[in-house]
Amino acid sequence: MVKALSSEDIARRVARDIPNGAYVNLGAYVNLGIGMPMLVADYPVPGREFVLHSENGLLGMGPAPAAGEEDMDLINAGKQAVTILPGGSYFHHADSFAMIRGGHIDISILGAYQVAANGDLANWALPGPKPPAVGGAMDLVAGARQVWVMLATHVAKDGAHKIVERCDLPLTGLNCVHRVYSDLAVIDITPKGLVVTDMVAGLSAEELEAKTGAPLAFAESCRALLSGRAA
């Protein structure tokens, strides 16, 4: 029986994977996109401090305030009230995107409509009459050192693949995604294609391949997991 991860489970896993910086005690600087990535802020990792960047001009973003404590001068990229942690700072939009575009953000965590095996991402425009809206997504994928994508479900509700050979929705950026976290697996996007590094228990390689629109390779660790289950 396959037990898919909840969005909260995925967020917890992502938080756990955020590394420390290149130097001891340097910390990582992480931007959380609107929507599901925001959940990552709710899962601090004991003994590890990282700094959350909010594109609207905030470093050191903390969790949502208690009800009644909201300050609408202090919001995140999703326009929700947040808090600021000790060590935080405010700055204007050009400075905020200088951090992003200049390669100072270690990891950008984003949602997606489609991710391609070559790292292309589509996460800003769907067909329809609504006006398009892009926000900072294109800047983030072009500027952050790593881009991680979170998918609440590995496939869309209608069964369509979200992880595909080539995106057919309007692109956010080319060759920009490094890793995908879904409810079923963790997949690295490498120059050689998709490499599964982790899977939920009970899922077979064939099942995951069926739910993925591009060829999968399985990392050593993952193969051990699979064969362990098979044994």
């Binding site: 909010s54 594109e55 609207n56 001009g57 905030l58 300050d71 609408m72 001068d73 202090l74 919001i75 326009k79 600021i84 405010y90 700055f91 204007h92 939009h93 050009a94 905020s96 995107f97 992003i100 575009r101 425009a125 009459p129 609504k130 006006p131 398009p132 809206a133 892009v134 926000g135 900072g136 997504a137 294109m138 800047d139 072009a142 500027g143 309007p170 692109l171 956010t172 950026g173 080319l174």
Partner: protein
């Protein structure tokens, strides 16, 4: 004596020749934070037409920028994210073909405004390369990476919201309400500010927007 303080929003707005039909107007704020709402609503009463408004969002509800849209003053919006919750008035105008829309990636929008203020006519950014938002734009390779050339935005008027100001126009901002306000203040022929509180003197190391970028301002009180 230098004194950029004006008593009322109506007086400030009346004495601003750059506020005219067809003007390019920068409006500070991100979501509802740092939007010069009272100033916008005062400008609504001028009945201007065919403004190009540059602002990150396209307003929500029927206050602030949305009221300017509703009044039919705006011919074109330049923004990164017009699809905020409650941006109904913009969506109606857009669906009816009554307003032009230029979508710009948020960081490119910020940098184009900053470039306008800093006298940089054009710059290159990797943002948007290979996407529909780079269509028709010149691209160029530097050191093996592809970039899009983007032009500066300069405006006739900037409308901004600040926390404190002294008579020279030195400004500070409240928390993330800073957002686009300081760079917009730099990029317009005339910069008008609504300010929560006038003070005698902003400490010189705490000034975020130096007075050189500010033309006129009005105290609106704490919210």
């Amino acid at each position: 004596m230098i004194d950029k303080r004006v008593s009322t929003l109506a007086d400030m707005v009346a004495d601003c020749p750059d506020l005219r039909d067809g003007a390019i107007v920068l409006i500070g704020g991100f979501g509802d934070a740092g939007v010069p709402e009272k100033l916008i609503e005062t400008i609504c009463e001028l009945g201007l037409r065919n403004l190009t408004v540059v602002s990150n969002n396209a307003g929500s509800g029927d206050y602030g920028l949305a009221s300017l849209l509703k009044a039919g003053c705006v011919g074109k919006m330049v923004c990164s994210f017009p699809r905020s919750a409650g941006s109904i008035i913009f969506e109606e105008l857009y669906a009816a073909g009554k307003i032009e829309l230029e979508i710009v990636p948020q960081g490119t929008l910020a940098e184009r405004i900053r470039a306008g203020g800093a006298g940089i006519p054009a710059f290159y950014t990797a943002t948007g390369f290979g996407t529909p938002l780079a269509q028709g734009k010149e691209t160029r390779e530097f050191d093996g990476r592809h970039y899009v050339m983007e032009r500066a935005i300069r405006a006739d008027v900037a409308l901004i919201h600040a926390r404190t100001a002294d008579r020279w126009g030195n400004l500070t901002y409240p928390k993330t309400a800073r957002n686009f306000n300081p760079i917009m203040a730099m990029a317009a022929a005339t910069t008008l500010a609504e300010v929560r509180r006038f003070v005698d003197n902003v400490a010189p190391e705490e000034v975020v927007t130096p007075g050189i970028f500010v033309t006129r301002m009005v105290e609106i009180g704490e919210r």
